[in-house]
Amino acid sequence: MFSEYHLNGIFDEMFEAAGEPRGHYRSVYTRLAALSNDAFQRRRRMADLSFKNQGITFTVYSDTTGVEKIFPFDLIPRIVPSNEWETIEKGLSQRLMALNAFCRDVYHEQRILREKIIPAELIYSAKMFRREMLGLQVPRDIYIHICGTDLIRDKTGQYLVLEDNGRTPSGVSYVLENRAVMKRVFPVLFGAYRVRGIEDYPHNLLHCLQNVAPQAREDPTVVILTPGIYNSAYFEHSFLARQMGVELVEGRDLIVDNNSVYMRTVAGLRKVDVIYRRVDDDFLDPLTFRPDSSLGVPGLMNAYRCGNVALVNAVGTGVADDKAIYPYVPDMIRFYLNEEPILNNVPTYICSRESDRKYVLEHLHELVVKSTNESGGYGMLMGHQSTSAERAKFAEMIKKDPRNFIAQPIVELSQHPSLIDDRFEGRRIDLRPYLLSFGDKVVVMPGGLTRVALRRGSLVVNSSQGGGSKDTWVLEEDGESPPLLQPELVPEGVTV
């Protein structure tokens, strides 16, 4: 099944050269190469069924055919040796410490603006800069408690940070489910490697949430605030609530009374200490933000300001993941931590800078243009695959509102074998690890969501754009993979 596998001249995660797997992939390669197509398809059906039964789905907003889809799962695991992971872990922790310091600073002293490290104009023109947060004290000075940072690898295999998702990153439920399914479908292969566990994530998340509870309450009440069943990540909201044993609530389930937040229960009102909110800032409190929002809780910001409830993530963190502010993250690391960045950024042109804009407009055909405040792969131009009409449209949009756009050279993402029909083909991937901030330290989940651009030649991995995902194995050790002692078995009694 590897016979027609092409390396495509980019970085391949599994192969060093044609037919030569990297050390840490050898056992996987041997196992996969030995499996018949039938055996493989059988496992695939098992996995699909498992996802379907558990209702692991997502929503594509522009799709009119149906509300929910299964997030395509790719059976071939991605493997990260421990030495590589160590660098990633350090780099990501460093980055999140700096991003938190940045949020604290822009909403208080604004040293980084006064010292002109970042142009104040850029911050004050950011859509997600929340003036209401100026001077507001947040518990333990943590703004981004939960971060999902997107990493990619370039042609040389260097890990680069593509974006920091510091608002309400989603996808962690898929990571946990993918792992559970892999263990069931490839038990022997999984057992042969010493893969670092990720199952403690819900436990760590709960601690991270409890950590910011007001007045050091002993058994704080934590809830997850969801926009509701029509949200694309509703599955995840309910999944995490179940995993942590906390209530899943909607805005109408909460009420503010005398600056405290309460949850309506059959037994009366119950005080809420921490809200893991999966509702965007704009919709969180109709009194402060969009008055037409029915997803939020009127008066919530007042309770927050009084320190009677913690919001996770804090309001206003979008200023740290604005794509035009992202190019300054390395400067933030130097400024706040006095360290050199461990992970590099992708070079970025800021269209509101005149010289950058000129360059971008002249090189649209070889750049990726992104809207600074969109996520999920919406509002994007892939220059090399675009038509001249699309480029003209983007050129107009850039000229009209330069602050809203950045551009980056097209990074040739690394590829990884995926099962496409009945054989393996290389497909582009990225990696979104999940980070939890406790203020003085950051806990990085060993692994993350490896997203796959399942369309041939595509560089867009977002689930909304036809992406899938695969399990990510971070190893306890480096180097060679272990020998396989027994043949892979499909558990008996399973008909698929």
Binding site: R131, E132, N258, R264, L269, L287, P291, G299
Partner: protein, 321 residues
């Protein structure tokens, strides 16, 4: 000038409502040229009130009422001493245009257009008709704006409402002080002069001024040599000791005297009255700040438990006339 101001707001509903959440910006600001000697806030139905400063330095009072009620009464009583130092902006040395790079970035934030103060060709055209020339004293330009608005626009109630953007007054040429203020802010920003909205009170003194029976609004422009300087386009003048500053913001939405939400299906009515008087001297025994309850009954609802809360609605804001 020593002023006592009583600001009464009455909200009434045709059917009982519940879960009122409200924010008030009614307390005069403490500033170099204006001292709030006393502030009393009475609210009914009686409920606890918390105060905080918003990001613009305005004192905000917030409260919730979680029991059925048919009306809300808010009475804010202030005693304020005003002493405006500047009477003639044309005497200031500042000249147009202002050097953008020399302005502090926090001040430059007041150059940004917003939701009510929207950039448009009509606004640009109006700004062009001021014929601003480089080197012109900023104070003269400001007074020219005030005169222009007075000449071209008519003061008339009922044409616009609290949420009207300036596109409406530019089209109808009629509006109230809130519209005039937004218009002047728009002119300032179009010409690169930081401009902000002031919500406050105006002591009429023999009905010398328009807009006195309710809360008033005017505009401040930024003069680098002095700071913020107030102009009232509705009364075609600079602000004097008759004006009491309550809240400042980028535009009306930053400073409404009352803003709230409630649940229920009752129709809402709002009535606002402002009375002011000049005091001969500071009365004894004034409380610096006092919050009081007004005895308005709430009905025996289930006090926030699991009843159907009805639809969520916004409480009407007072338009500043």
């Amino acid at each position: 000038m020593l002023l006592k101001i009583i600001h009464e707001t009455d909200l009434s509903y045709t059917a009982p409502i519940d879960e009122t959440v409200m924010e008030l910006r009614m307390a005069p600001r403490q500033e170099q040229d204006q001292h709030r000697l006393s502030f009393r806030l009475a609210i009914g139905p009686a409920t606890p009130v918390t105060g905080y400063f918003d990001w613009l330095g305005n004192l905000v009072h917030s409260f919730t009422i979680n029991a059925y009620h048919e009306r809300i009464r808010i009475v804010a009583t202030s005693v304020v001493q005003t002493h405006r130092a500047l009477s003639d902006a044309t005497a200031l040395p500042d000249r147009w245009p202002l050097a953008f790079d020399d302005l502090d970035y926090a001040v430059r934030d007041f150059l940004r257009f917003g939701v009510s103060v929207v950039e448009s060709p009509a606004l640009r055209e109006l700004a062009d008709s001021l014929l601003a020339t480089p080197g012109m004293p900023l104070g003269e330009l400001a007074m020219a704006m005030v005169r222009l608005i007075d000449e071209r626009f008519t003061y008339e109630k009922g044409v616009t409402h609290a949420a009207s953007p300036i596109a409406e007054i530019l089209e109808h040429r009629r509006g109230v002080c809130q519209d005039f203020t937004h218009l002047m802010i728009g002119l300032g920003r179009t010409l690169g002069i930081p401009a902000r909205y002031v919500s406050g009170f105006l002591h009429p003194e023999g009905e010398l001024y328009r807009g006195y029976a309710q809360t008033h609004a005017w505009c401040e422009l930024y003069f680098p040599s002095f700071g913020w300087v107030g102009f009232d386009p509705t009364n075609k003048c600079m602000i004097t000791s008759h004006f009491v500053r309550v809240a400042v913001g980028r535009e009306y939405r930053d400073v409404p005297p009352n803003r709230g939400m409630f649940k229920g299906d009752g129709k809402e009515g709002i009535s606002v009255a402002v009375q002011s008087e000049e005091l001969p001297g500071v009365p004894g025994g004034l409380p610096a700040e006092r919050i009081e309850g007004i005895g308005i009954r709430t009905m025996n609802g289930q006090n926030g438990s699991c009843h159907d809360p009805g639809t969520q609605d916004q409480i009407q804001q007072q338009q500043q006339q």
